[in-house]
């Protein structure tokens, strides 16, 4: 589904954010991307939905070579990719409902369907009561959940979530991860960048670790991380 080979990304003349990343994420996989602040996680994700172009190397997404993609085709690529942006990127002048609906409108959903699906997804993230609010009138966590709802509402083939639980308490975060898991089970390829090692450990998925623009580990064994981050934690299955 997503294949990168030796991706290099420069910001400015002498700063390299990605220093030769090669990886392969198969259709239907669920992958975490972790690493310290500034490691290049967001940059890596931006490559996938073409917000940034690689300076070197090739990316194939859903069979398309992104470096050869015409600008006009980018929107059609993005329609298959739901993105939860790290800074949410909600449209401030639209209500929560209209934000969600916009993502549906973009793909040409019929009017009747739009309403039903928007309601549905907002109920899933626990925000049905905020449907007519504007993003700036929501708490940080609520905004984040709207961003998540918008990303998943049109059943994308790929779901990218950049730090989707940074503003959520553990209980809601678990619910959200449950939602992602469910979408994953329905066949969506999911890529989640996060710092929340608790979640990473509990989910027991493939983990790609970036450090300073390089891929330092790529493993399916969550046990490998038990001793990092200067904190020892005993994990039990979620009760909620």
């Amino acid at each position: 589904m997503i294949r990168m080979s030796n991706i290099q990304k420069r910001y400015g003349p002498d700063f390299r954010a990605l220093k030769g990343i090669s990886l392969h994420i198969r259709r239907g996989e669920f992958v975490f991307v972790t690493g310290p602040s500034g490691a290049g996680k967001t940059t890596l994700l931006k490559m996938i939905y073409c917000e940034q172009k690689a300076d070197e190397g090739e990316i194939l997404v859903n069979g398309r070579n992104l470096s050869r993609l015409r600008r006009g085709s980018i929107p059609y690529l993005r329609r298959n990719i739901g993105v939860v942006f790290q800074d949410f990127k909600l449209i401030h002048s639209k209500s929560v409902f209209d934000n969600i609906v916009f993502a549906l409108r973009v793909i040409g959903t019929p009017r009747g369907d739009m309403k039903r699906r928007a309601w549905d997804v907002l109920r899933r993230v626990g925000l049905q009561h905020k449907i007519n609010s504007y993003p700036l009138c929501l708490s940080g966590g609520e905004q984040q959940r709207v961003a998540i709802a918008r990303a998943v509402v049109n059943d994308p083939a790929i779901l990218i979530a950049d730090e989707p639980t940074g503003n959520l308490d553990a209980a809601v975060a678990d619910e959200i991860m449950g939602l992602l898991e469910e979408i994953h089970v329905r066949g969506t390829t999911v890529v989640v960048a996060t710092h929340n090692m608790g979640i990473v450990r509990r989910m027991k998925k493939r983990v790609i670790r970036l450090e300073d623009g390089r891929c330092v580990s790529d493993t399916n064994a969550p046990d490998a991380f038990e001793l990092d981050e200067g904190e020892i934690t005993l994990v039990k299955p979620s009760v909620g």
Binding site: Y49, G72, I74, F85, S93, V106, R111
Partner: protein
């Protein structure tokens, strides 16, 4: 699908106007004032045109015949004159008629002619101008053409003041053209730029929409309708302002005789056609202002 999108564009354009109220009002007022200037200019221009056209209509060209040309020969010339498109009427005034006219017009000075032995007045053609020729250029062209006829001794149009006036009107007209042209260009820029600034204020949203997978035209749609609506609203505002001033302020201004004693000069308003043109112009400029601007923020 197309219908759904179109109705979304229109709905969304209106919604956005309402949502960004401060910005909309500021933009619409700017556009309104810009178009008002243009409208006011057109009113002034067309009124000056009208007043001076009235005068021009009174301009009559008199062509004096050389001495010794018989009435028959004169008839021949008259026919030739008649062929000019600029000429609507030609009246032959013989020497005798000229003398008669002089004595009747200057009855109180009749004694001036009492002692005359010979008629000093030449024969002439009084030439009326056709509707199309009632302007400065056509008159001058005709006069120049007539001046070349050997049978004519001299061509005179109106009195001395007419010449000065015609020159002046030419200058005035040229200045009006220049000013109008500059105004037009400036107003296109002002309106387009105003719309651009309103788009600029929402550049973030444009980028977000593109990141969500909206095509450029889908993003542009509502902005275009919004630009169009802003232009239309601005045009309506300008027409409202002009009408208001024309009906309420101008009469008061004319009545305050101390400054301008012009109570009796009727100034006409813009024609309905002109008003429609202003609306159309406002809408077009808003539309294209948006069009030029939105693309700039869709480079993500």
């Amino acid at each position: 699908m197309l219908v759904q999108n179109l109705s979304y564009f229109i709905e969304e354009g209106f919604r956005s106007l309402r949502h960004n109220r401060f910005m909309s009002v500021v933009a619409i007022v700017t556009i309104g004032f810009a178009l008002m200037i243009f409208g006011a200019f057109l009113i002034v221009y067309s009124n000056v045109q009208q007043i001076t056209d009235g005068w021009i209509r009174e301009v009559e060209v008199t062509a004096y015949l050389r001495e010794g040309i018989s009435d028959d020969a004169a008839d021949e010339i008259k026919k030739r004159l008649w062929e000019n498109r600029e000429i609507a009427s030609v009246v032959y005034v013989s020497r005798e008629q000229a003398l008669q006219r002089f004595t009747s017009e200057h009855a109180d000075a009749a004694y001036l002619l009492e002692g005359l032995t010979e008629n000093p007045l030449p024969a002439s053609f009084e030439i009326g101008l056709s509707r199309e020729a009632r302007n400065r250029e056509a008159v001058e062209r005709l006069v120049a053409k007539l001046g070349k006829l050997p049978e004519l001794e001299g061509v005179q149009y109106g009195e001395e003041w007419t010449k000065s006036l015609l020159t002046f009107l030419k200058i005035l007209r040229m200045l009006g053209f220049i000013l109008g042209g500059l105004l037009g260009v400036a107003i296109i820029f002002i309106i387009a730029n105003t719309v651009r600034l309103t788009v600029y204020a929402r550049r973030d949203e444009l980028a977000v929409m593109r990141l969500i997978g909206a095509t450029n035209w889908f993003i542009k749609g509502p902005f275009l309708t919004e630009g169009l609506l802003q232009g239309l609203a601005g045009a309506l505002l300008s027409v409202g302002l002009l009408l208001g001033m024309y009906h309420f302020w101008l009469p008061k201004l004319q009545a305050s005789a101390g400054i301008f004693f012009l109570q009796n000069v009727p100034l006409s308003f813009l024609s309905v056609e002109m008003l429609l043109w202003i609306m159309a112009a406002g809408m077009l400029m808003g539309f294209f202002g948006s069009l030029m601007s939105v693309g700039r923020f869709l480079r993500v």
